[in-house]
Every structure is written in structure tokens, then in C-alpha cells.
């Protein structure tokens, strides 16, 4: 029986793929054993980061239901939509939807070809967001150090799909793989806060601040915005809990890095008023 080389090649690729998919769930366990060298790391080496980015992009492609510029289309570099969407910036989402990367047909071939490609800009909704999850899962498996994957994944799991447990597990997995990262702790805290678990939210955020400062001290340039978000949210949390002193402390800390220290000052003033009010009532009497 003559078997063509193509069949052999495809079977091998297919086999590799099956093994990879069936093992990917087990890969996390392995990664515990060998830290950053997880299953995919062993197979692909550093090229896995490339794949991870590709898969992350695939999640975005799915989010847009296939209406997506290829690497040949001009504006592709500017596409960062998933992020804006993930942070609920509705305006930008609407703006972005109006954008049309295809432009006017360049020639008749292009024009006729439009019949055979998706030309309508849509976003997944009504639970269909779940379709992106496999790509995020794969991206996380391929590059456990890519923070975006966890934050975006957790956002959709939590906000759009109501899968709080899975979101928490995903963020924890991310934190496990990136123990120094305070952004993941921030997202985790938000999750706890949403489920009204103030104590855990506080703990996680405080840990986040600690991690951030440790890195900052070590001279590593970190994204100041994360610290800003952590401190502001801690401030609000303490404010709501009635710990006004703490609240002011956090907001002050945030002022040092915030792009809008004035705004924060207004909030600080408001809290200070609250702090003064109950004490001043007996004082004026």
C-alpha cells in the first residue's frame, strides 16, 4: 500500500495537536513542577510567545465574529479593541464599531470578493462571548507570563458569562504563574469586591500594593496606573467600610501617581468632612 508523504505529515501534525489539546489541561500541573517551563514551553521553546500572541489575537477575531483585519490590512497595528471593550469603555466600543478597515473596494476583484467575506462589524454578546474562551485558555497555556490574557479572560468570564468561580481560578492561575504581578491582584480584588467579600478584596489589594512597592524599590519600572487603581480602590473600600483614616491614607498615596490629583483631592476633602462631622457634633454642643 503506497501512502503518500502528505498523509504521513498530516497525521503526525494531527497527532501532535491531539496530544497537545488533551494534555493542555494537565499542563498547569506540570508547570507547577517546573515553573515557567510548562508543557508548551518544552515543546515550542520561546516561539510559544508568538503563538500565544496569535491565539490572543484569535480571541479578538472571535470577539468580532471574524470581521477582522489581517496582517496585510493597514490599521491592524492599531487594533487593541478587546482591551477597551474589556474595561467597559462603551463609547470607544461604539466608535470602534463604526470603523471600517476594509475601506472602499480597490478594484473589481476586491469588490466582488467582498461577497465572500464578512463585512459587518459585530461584537459577541448574549453569552456568545464564551466562544473566545478557548483561545484565551490556549494563549495562557502557551505564554503564562502574558498578563493581559488573564485579565481579559477574567473580565469576560465574570461580567459577561457570570462565571465568577472560573474567573477567580483563572486569575489565581495567572497570579501563581506571575507571583510578582500586582495587576492580577487588582483584578482579583475587584472580583471579590463585586461578590461583597470586602475582607478578601482588601487583603488582595493590600498585597498588590506591597508587591508593587517591592518591585518599585527594586528599581523595576512598573506601570504606575496599577498602583493608582489599587490605592484609589482601597481608598473607596475603606471609605465605604467607615475607616476614613485609612481611606484618606490610600487616596493620598494615589495622588502621588495619579494623572488627576485634583479629582482625588475633592474626594479626600469629602471624606475629611465625614471624619470631622461625627466628632464635631459633640464638640459644638
Amino acid at each position: 500500500m503506497k501512502t503518500s508523504p502528505w498523509i504521513a505529515l498530516v497525521s503526525l501534525l494531527a497527532l501532535a495537536f491531539t496530544v497537545a489539546t488533551s494534555l493542555s489541561s494537565r499542563a498547569d500541573i506540570w508547570s507547577k513542577r517546573s515553573k515557567s517551563n510548562n508543557f508548551f514551553g518544552v515543546i515550542f521553546g520561546d516561539g510559544r510567545k508568538l503563538f500565544a500572541n496569535q491565539f490572543f489575537t484569535m480571541a479578538d477575531v472571535y470577539f468580532h465574529s471574524g470581521y477582522y483585519p489581517s496582517i496585510f490590512d493597514k490599521n491592524s497595528a492599531e487594533q487593541k479593541e478587546i482591551i477597551s471593550a474589556s474595561h467597559g469603555a462603551k463609547e470607544t466600543e461604539e466608535d470602534e464599531k463604526k470603523e471600517d478597515f476594509l475601506g472602499q473596494p480597490k478594484d473589481w476583484i476586491d469588490a466582488f470578493g467582498r461577497h465572500f467575506r464578512l463585512t459587518e462589524h459585530v461584537h459577541l454578546e448574549q453569552g456568545n462571548e464564551r466562544e473566545m474562551l478557548p483561545w484565551l485558555r490556549l494563549a495562557a497555556d502557551l505564554d503564562p507570563q502574558k498578563i493581559e490574557t488573564y485579565t481579559v479572560g477574567a473580565f469576560f468570564l465574570r461580567e459577561h458569562l457570570g462565571k465568577t468561580n472560573e474567573a477567580e481560578a483563572f486569575l489565581r492561575e495567572g497570579f501563581h504563574n506571575n507571583p510578582e504581578n500586582s495587576e492580577l491582584l487588582f483584578e482579583l480584588g475587584r472580583l471579590y469586591q463585586d461578590s461583597a467579600d470586602v475582607t478578601r478584596a482588601r487583603n488582595v489589594w493590600e498585597l498588590g500594593v506591597k508587591k508593587f512597592l517591592a518591585l518599585d524599590d527594586a528599581g523595576k519600572k512598573e506601570n504606575k496606573l496599577v498602583f493608582d487603581q489599587l490605592a484609589v480602590n482601597l481608598g473607596r473600600l475603606e471609605d465605604a467600610a467607615g475607616n476614613f483614616d485609612q481611606a484618606i491614607k490610600w487616596l493620598r498615596a494615589a495622588q502621588s501617581v495619579s494623572p488627576v490629583p485634583g479629582e482625588l483631592q475633592i474626594q479626600i476633602d469629602a471624606i475629611q468632612k465625614k471624619l470631622a462631622a461625627p466628632a464635631s457634633v459633640p464638640a459644638t454642643k
Binding site: 494531527a14 489539546t21 480597490k106 465572500f116 466562544e131
Partner: protein
């Protein structure tokens, strides 16, 4: 016409008596089912990636079946020397080519039907929707794209020494056309002059196979493409198939078969 059908019948018999098709089908089925069984965040409604994987495998399998089957037809006839008793009968070389083409094309068509039926079953069992018209459009256009490919490979198989080199070159060429076809004009603009005209020339002169890929429509939103465009694309495929078959016939008609 009966002669052509008889010739095609031999090709089809060959395909289903060889193991290639079954291997590819079982592989596709296994991988699709495997992809469907992976647990992503405990969500058992996820389906698009399964569809994506399955259609991808269908495309690769169908291309392999079409290209490999076609590439070996004429060379095998010559190698086994069956071409001689065949051509010693009242059948013209053009009819032989036509029969080979028809056989390969029908055989791939049968394979496609099996593949898409499997696809419909798998996705239908999870989504409980059966957009047959969408599947039909996707399958039909894929089949007609394969007609172009088969005619092209048939032409190539007259000139390349070994079926394996014909297969490899055809595969690369087809994948290149599918991937770059719609972007060559954009790409051309980014190139310096001699290259620019060359790419633009290729863009306008090549068969645009990428039109026939409706996978996105099947995976994402199950919308139908406009029927007039669908019909035009079919005509386009027929024209290109005719061009390649004619070229093959010109080459084969006067070929010295003993060298």
C-alpha cells in the same frame, strides 16, 4: 461522454479502494471530537472553535485528496503503461484528460459530502440548528474551487517528473493563493517598482481561490451569501477550470508518450 464517465469511474473506484480517504476522514473525525471534548472553563456550549478546527481539517483533507489523487493519475498511467492499451482503443487523449478530471472531481465531491455531513451532525448535536443552505453554499463553492485545483494539478502532472513534486508544488501554490490572493494588491503597493507591477499583474491574472472559502460564514454567523454572487463565483470557477483543462489538453495532445 460514456467513455469519459467510464474513465471517471475507474478513478472513483481507485479512491475508495485506497486508504487515503478513510485515514483523512477518521483523523478529521477524531480531532474534531477531541476538540469538542476539551473543557474550557467548564463551558459546554463552546462550539465555534470546534467548527473552526473541523472545517480547517476538512479543507486540508479535501485539498490533499484532490491534489494527491489528481497528481498521480497520468504519471501512474504512464508508469504502469496502462495508458498504452487505453489509448490503443478508440478514445482520444482529450477524453482521457476529461475522464481523469471528472473522476477526481466527483471523487472529491463525494468525500466533501461525507465530510460536511459529519460536520453538520457534530455541530447540530450541540447547537441544535441545521443551516443546510449555509453548508450547501460552503460545500458547493469549496467543490468548485477544487475543480480549479484539480484542473491545475492535472496540467502540472504532465510536466513535473514525479507525482510527489507535483503534489508539493500544487499544495504550496494553492495555499499561497488562498492566503495571499486577496492581499496581493495591497502588498504590491508596498513594493518597489519592478516587483509592484509584477505582484499587481499576478493579482489580476490569477484565479482567486480565496473567494470560495466560506468557512467564516459557517463558523460565525450562518448568514447566506447573495445567490447571484454565488452563481457568478460558480461560473468563474468553471471558466478557470476550462482554461487549465484546455492548457493541459494542448500539452497532452502532442506529447510523445514513450519518453
Amino acid at each position: 461522454m460514456n467513455k469519459i464517465v467510464a474513465l471517471a469511474g475507474v478513478v472513483i473506484k481507485e479512491l475508495y479502494r485506497r486508504k487515503d480517504f478513510y485515514v483523512l476522514f477518521v483523523l478529521t473525525a477524531l480531532l474534531t471530537v477531541a476538540a469538542g471534548m476539551v473543557n474550557f472553563f467548564n463551558d459546554d456550549k463552546i462550539i465555534r472553535i470546534v467548527k473552526d478546527v473541523c472545517l480547517m481539517l476538512i479543507w486540508v483533507s479535501a485539498l490533499i485528496i484532490a491534489i494527491v489523487t489528481t497528481a498521480r493519475q497520468i504519471p501512474a498511467e504512464r508508469e504502469a503503461r496502462t495508458l498504452f492499451p487505453l489509448l490503443a482503443k478508440p478514445v482520444s487523449r482529450g477524453q482521457v484528460l476529461a475522464g481523469k478530471f471528472l473522476g477526481c472531481w466527483l471523487a472529491t465531491g463525494v468525500a466533501l459530502v461525507v465530510f460536511y455531513f459529519f460536520f453538520a451532525i457534530i455541530t447540530g448535536s450541540r447547537e441544535h440548528i441545521w443551516p443546510w443552505a449555509v453548508y450547501f453554499q460552503a460545500m458547493w463553492l469549496q467543490w468548485f474551487m477544487l475543480a480549479i485545483v484539480i484542473a491545475m494539478v492535472l496540467l502540472g502532472s504532465l510536466y513535473f517528473a514525479a507525482p510527489s513534486s507535483t503534489s508539493t508544488i500544487s499544495f504550496i501554490l494553492v495555499v499561497g493563493m488562498l492566503g495571499l490572493g486577496s492581499h496581493l494588491n495591497t502588498l504590491a503597493l508596498q513594493q518597489p517598482e519592478p516587483m509592484q507591477s509584477l505582484l499587481a499583474g499576478i493579482y489580476f491574472a490569477m484565479p482567486h481561490l480565496e473567494w470560495f472559502d466560506l468557512r467564516d460564514f459557517v463558523v460565525y454567523d450562518q448568514k447566506l451569501i447573495a445567490w447571484p454572487a454565488f452563481a457568478l463565483a460558480t461560473v468563474y470557477a468553471v471558466v478557470w477550470t476550462g482554461i487549465f483543462l484546455l492548457l493541459a489538453w494542448f500539452g497532452f495532445r502532442r506529447k510523445n508518450l514513450s519518453t
